[in-house]
Symmetry: C2
Subunit: 276 residues, 2 copies
C-alpha cells in the first residue's frame, strides 16, 4: 500500500485507528473455547466488528508464536480475514544481519514462500543499516522502525545522550532518513511521551508514526494529534487491549465495535481540528 492510499483511507474512514490483534487465548470469552479455532474465531469477529472504524490491523506475532505451530497457523488464517484495503502490520520487532533480515522480510512479505503478505513489519534498529535494508527491497512494503517506545525500559538506552546533546532515539530517526524516505519508512513512537512527539515530528516531518501507547499504555489521543499530526495525518494510533478485551462475555465483538467507534469519533474531531 502506498502512503497516498493510506492517507485516502484515513480521510474516507475519518480514522487513523490501528487495532492491535494481540490475541491471548487465556483471555478469550469462555464460549469461544469450545470451538476448534477459538483464536481465529475471536479475531474474525473482532475484525468484522471494527474494520469499519480502523485503517490498520496489527497482530503482535509474539501472541501467536507463544503457541508454536498452532499459533502460526492461526495467524495465517487471521490474515486471510482482513479486508485488502486495510494496512496490515506484523508487529514482530525483528532485526538481524543482512542475510538473516532478508529471511525475516520473506517471512512477512513473500506470500508465496511463507503464506504472509503483510504491508509492513516493525523492526528494531540496534544492528543498524544492513539489518533494516533487506525489508526495503520489497515493493510497496514498509519498515516501521522502533524509535521511542512507551515502556519503562525505554529509559535504559533510548534516552542516552550522545555527543552533541542528541539522544539515541533521535539519532535512530536521523540515521534512518538516509536509508529510506517517508514513502517506505514509519517510526514507532510511544504516546505516553507526547512532549517528545514535538521533537520527533521535527526530525521526521513527513513520516507516519505508529503510536502504540493509547489506551492500556496510557497516552492521550488529544496530545498525540496536537503534536503529531502532519499534512497527511502521519499517525496510526494503536489500541489493543482497550478494544479487543472491552468485554469477555458473549458481547465481546459488539463492545469492541463500540470502543473502536468511540476512538474513531474522537479521531474524526481531531482530523477536523488539525487537518481541516
Amino acid at each position: 500500500m502506498t502512503k497516498q492510499q493510506l492517507f485516502e483511507n484515513i480521510l474516507k474512514k475519518r480514522s487513523f485507528l490501528c487495532v492491535g490483534l494481540d490475541t491471548d487465548i487465556t483471555k478469550l470469552p469462555k464460549h469461544l473455547l469450545k470451538l476448534d479455532n477459538p483464536v481465529v474465531e475471536f479475531n474474525k469477529q473482532i475484525i468484522e466488528a471494527t474494520a469499519e472504524y480502523c485503517v490498520s490491523f496489527k497482530p503482535n506475532t509474539a501472541f501467536y508464536e507463544s503457541r508454536g505451530v498452532k499459533g502460526w497457523q492461526d495467524l495465517e488464517q487471521t490474515m486471510e480475514l482482513i479486508p485488502s484495503d486495510i494496512f496490515t502490520i506484523a508487529d514482530a520487532k525483528r532485526g538481524d544481519i543482512g542475510n538473516t533480515s532478508e529471511m525475516y522480510a520473506r517471512a512477512f512479505f513473500n506470500k508465496k514462500e511463507s503464506g504472509f503478505d503483510f504491508d509492513s513489519v516493525t523492526v528494531a534498529p540496534y544492528m543498524g543499516v544492513d539489518s533494516v535494508s533487506p525489508f526495503l527491497g520489497f515493493e510497496d512494503k514498509w519498515v516501521i522502525l522502533l524509535a521511542l517506545t512507551s515502556n519503562n525500559g525505554s529509559k535504559d538506552f533510548q534516552f542516552s545522550l550522545l555527543d552533541g546533546d542528541e539522544r539515541l532515539y533521535e539519532k535512530v530517526i536521523k540515521q534512518a532518513h538516509t536509508w529510506a524516505n517517508a514513502d517506505r519508512l514509519m517510526f514507532v513512537v510511544g504516546a505516553t511521551r507526547a512532549s517528545e512527539l514535538e521533537i520527533i515530528r521535527k526530525l521526521a516531518p513527513d513520516n507516519f508514526l505508529l503510536v502504540p501507547g493509547v489506551g492500556a499504555q496510557g497516552g492521550s489521543l488529544q496530545e498525540v494529534a496536537q503534536f503529531g499530526m502532519n499534512a497527511t495525518c502521519g499517525l496510526l494510533v494503536n489500541s489493543s487491549r482497550g478494544i479487543i478485551y472491552a468485554s469477555n462475555g458473549e458481547d465481546f465483538a459488539e463492545k469492541a465495535r463500540s470502543e473502536a467507534k468511540k476512538l474513531r469519533d474522537e479521531m474524526d474531531v481531531l482530523l477536523d481540528k488539525y487537518l481541516g
Copy 2:
C-alpha cells in the same frame, strides 16, 4: 542447563563450538529435495555428524519463519533431534514490552504451550529492562543479549559515544549486569572485532560470550580465545555456513563433520593454551 554443566561439556568434548542451523532450503544438496521434509533430513544428518564436536546448536529462527507454518514445523521437528546434553540457542533476536516479551519467552521456553524447550534465546536490548526480564523468569533458561554485533550496521549505533566516553554496547553490558548474573546472561559479541573482546571481557569477566563471527563472517579463532577466554572458558564460538554448507553434494554431512572436527581440534589446542 546450568553454567557448570555447560563448562563440563566443554571440558569433556574439548570444544566450545556452536553449530548454526541456518538452514536455507535453496542451498540444500539436490538429492534431499525429493524428500518430504528436506530441511529436517538435512538438519538430522548435520546434527548426527557434528554433535560429537560441538556443545551447542543454534537455529536461526528467520530461516524457518521464511517458510511460514511449514518452517515452524521443521524447526519443531529439528529440536527433537538434538541430544539433551547439548545447549540450544533460539537465535531469534526478540524483544518487546513486558507482556509481549513474556509471550516470546513462552514461545521458546514453555514446551507444553509452544512445543519448544530451548535453553536460551537471543534478545535485542533496545527496549531495555522490561523487554529482557520476562525471559529471566524461566528456571535454568538463559538470555543471550546483543551487545556488539559483527555486521557493518553495528557502527550505526552500537559504537555511539555516550556521556563519559562510554560506547552504547558498553552501556548495554554494564546495565544488563543489574538485570541478571553470569549464570543466566550471556552476550553476543562479533568476533571480527577481537580488539574489542578485551574491553568486553573486562566489563563481563564471568559471562559466556556467544561469538557469531568465526568462519563466513571472518573472525579469527585464535584471537577470540586469546582475548575472550575466562576461567570457565566463557566462549561459545559459532560457525554456520562454514560447516553446514561445506559441501552441497551427497557428502555434505561428512564434510560438515570434518569441518566441525577441524574447529574442535583448534579449540582443543586453545583450551590447553589458555585454560590449562
